[in-house]
């Protein structure tokens, strides 16, 4: 076929020349099939850790959500949050990528983009109303809006209770940050929660 085309070109047939050019551009335009950049990217968070320090002093307590093999495969391993009634805690949250060695701490990146991120803490179940969480840090938006890397947990005195703590990290990606949910969720994880008297 190609030799046929060439004959036509010699005869200056415009259609054949065009076709041949198209063919050539196509051959020239063939794509590279090797990777030009490191593009093998996966969701990079494996772990979220909550650390709560009692205001009156005492050992901090932690709760952890961890899925080392990422989505699929093994289910996440979650350690529950064990709170004491009548105690107030100062809390922090850490986000890690433990699939890398050494593990990467992603918390600083959230802090850097604090004006586009918001952690929301919601308690449900029997502990609802017993455990109140308020975010204590602010970003540099005008007016300043909460970030949620730091928060205060107030557990009222009373009987034992259990429930769930849901932590959502909203990302306001290309939209103005508000205190309402965005449609971009970076983290949405839950911890079982127990209150002991």
């Amino acid at each position: 076929m190609l030799s046929l085309n060439l004959q036509f070109i010699r005869k200056k047939n415009p259609a054949a020349i065009l076709l041949a050019l198209a063919l050539l551009s196509l051959v020239g335009g063939c794509r590279r099939t090797d990777n030009p950049v490191e593009t093998n990217e996966q969701e990079s968070i494996t772990t979220m850790r909550l650390t709560l320090t009692p205001v009156g002093g005492g050992a901090p307590i932690t709760a952890q959500w961890r899925d080392l093999d990422g989505a699929g495969g093994n289910p996440p391993v979650i350690t529950p949050l064990a709170l004491r009634a009548g105690t107030t805690y100062n809390g922090t949250v850490e986000v890690l990528d433990e699939s890398k060695t050494p593990a990467e701490n992603k918390t600083a990146e959230i802090l850097e983009e604090a004006n586009e991120h918001l952690f929301v803490y919601t308690v449900s179940g029997g502990a609802q109303g017993r455990v109140n969480i308020t975010v204590t840090d602010l970003d540099t938006n005008t007016p300043p809006l909460p970030v949620g890397l730091q928060y205060r947990v107030v557990v009222t005195a009373g009987a034992a209770a259990s429930g769930n703590l849901r932590v959502i990290l909203y990302h306001y990606d290309g939209v103005r940050k508000t205190v309402n949910p965005s449609n971009e969720i970076d983290i949405d994880a839950s911890f079982p929660l127990n209150v002991t008297p």
Binding site: R31, E41, D67, A71, G72, R166
Partner: protein, 808 residues
Amino acid sequence: MKRAIVPYFFLALFWQVAATATAQPLYRASGKVTDAATGELLIGATIMVVELGRGTATGTDGTYRLDNLPQGVYQFRCSYVGYKTQTATLNLQADHVQNFSLQTLGATQRELTVTGDKTREVLQQSSQSVSTMSKSDLDKHRGQTLGETLRDLPGVTVLQTGPSISKPVVRGLHSQRVLILNAGVRQEGQQWGAEHAPEIDPFASAKIEVLKGAASVDYGSDAIGGVIRIEPRPLPRENAVGGELTVNGFGNNAQGAASVLLEGGVAPLEGLKWRLQGSYRRAGDAATPQYFLNNTGFSELNFSATTALRKDWGDLCAYYSRFSTELGVLRSAHIGNLTDLVSSMQRREPFFTDPFSFSIDFPRQRISHDLISLRARLGLGNEHTLQLTYGYQQNIRQEFDAHVPLGTDRSRREIPSFDLTLFTHTAEARFAHAPIGNFIGALGLAATAQSNNNLGRSALIPNFTSLTGGVFWREAWVSEQWTLNAGVRYDVRVQNATPYGSSRIAQQLQRGEIQSRQLFHTVTGAVGALFQFSPEWSIGANVATAWRPPSINELYSDGVHHGTAQYETGNPALDVERSFNIDATLRHIGEKTRLEFSIYNNAISNFIYLFPLVEPQITIRGAFPAFEYQQANAVLRGIDGFFEWTVFNQTRFFMSLSLVRGWNIGRGEPLINMPSDRLIVGVHIDLPEAFGLQKTYLELTTTQVRRQDQFPMLTLPAQLPPALSDPEAYQFYVQNLTLPPAGYGLLGVSIGAEFSLLAQQATLILSAQNLLDQRFRDYLSRFRFFADDAGRNIILRLQLAFGAYSDD
């Protein structure tokens, strides 16, 4: 559907083959055929003796001769492409000279070229059901996607992902189960994805045929549901340059589209013809009755070039086409996790309802498809022919996700999440032997080589290479009234996957825990019969098998499918899918009525389908709807057909019906995602000529879609999956995910006319889809959880021929 006027009255005469008495004296009829205007001799004009079913053609001197005609009264019919057919009545008592002088066809009479032979051709076209859209049918749909163009055909529905992405569904099957032949080459893109539309220029086709039911003998694997054959128009016969300009505007999404076609011949080289064609489409956000579907615009640029050489030894044709598009995916359909999905399902309006915009933002797709088709048809002497086809395709699909992982630079979104390049070479040789007695048939060899390469930020499917080879043989025994056909084919496919990305399946592939090399082979066959039991009626029946190896995504998918936020897992142990299809088709062409009606039973063993799991995929971003490729025996049954009735001379009533029932035998429940029952009823009125307007018509169409009541239900497990962050959303999800939306009815209207503009033929069509601006959601719309389907769309189409272009 063909809506051409057919002079049916020839037909009745045509089939009454006169019994000839041998004792009678025999005479000769001869004469010449000329152009009435120029007096030029016409070479190759056909002369038919209607009563005898005998005919001949004029030779290079423009004359014909028919010997051994018994005494009698005959109708001699003389026809030639581009000319009015002429009939002369002869009382043959001696040798007779009968000359014909033919008049060229005016614009209004072109449709009369459809003759009695055409009727026979339609009635005896195939023992399988075939719906054909001619150029004039297609012209009424220019500027729309392939799916939307075919959606009114009986047995065809559409799988839609927003207004810009649609795929045809044939008898309940789609994607890898419906083969698309573009310019003789099997279209190979990433057709497995439900939101991957076929890469077809809506302006390039002059004829589309939809062959319904299994057809593996001729087409190899994948033709389980049917075959869509798309053909550009034949190259011109004359050397003079001509062309056609098409412009259209769509009110709903402010879509503008234009296509230019230019064709001609090369005088010094007899038989060499060429065509160039290009089209552009640009659209913004589509509108539902209440809000805009943000980020559903697109920008599409297509180009094709054809050249062919026609000689007495055969013909050669080279075709190149390029399709490229960039399209937005509904912004509100970009969801995080199951909670987001549920809140979308519960909302009346989508998350984003911003004002109209032309911008194409994230998430979006960028696709290009290049196709080269080289075809040769060679006469080997003694009426043997050899047909050779080679195709090369390069398909690039890039999907850009709105989400970038935490802490990643936003500019990373410019790197596609998926970036797939698929190279395909196809080759076919088909040898059609000369008729042996009443047998006509063909033997063929076919081969396909593919390689698929990932470049994106992540991967859903691995890289792969595959080789497919097939050999087939088909014979038909043809008589006046009967056609019996049978065929057999053997195919083998070997496929080798290499992992890309770090998904679980990719890692298993890497470690050799799952098979990366797979071999599939199978024998398929078909037998069919077609019987024209009266001049106006025929019936065909067919038993055919077809097969399809599990596709790469079904075997190895593992990851979140962006844009749909569903976690899809493949199954490397899947087996070959095989269908056993029985169908029957009744056809009728009468003076005032036309009908085609089919009934079918397509039993598919090892049917592969994507099914939602009750257990969601828990990730740190929340629970994701999880889907798994499953395999079970299934059966699809249905009826489809159309009926047309010319009630008065100018008024034609038509209807088209598609019903399909899919049953999952393995699970003992209806198959998921089967199209809803659909009935289209309309009336077409030809209006009188006025103000220089010709062929003016008014057409009203209603489409009734019943709510799908055949669907599987998910059941909540006794114990909720652990680590759910939002149990309430989860419960709502399980209970509502498979529920179909309500049925709906739509009204459409179309007014068209032909007129003369700058001494050239022009066609203007004004139409409105969803005239009453109804809110609705279709069951096969993948965005039914997020937003309504598009509302009223007013479309203006102008077509202008120029130069030596004739619309025949």
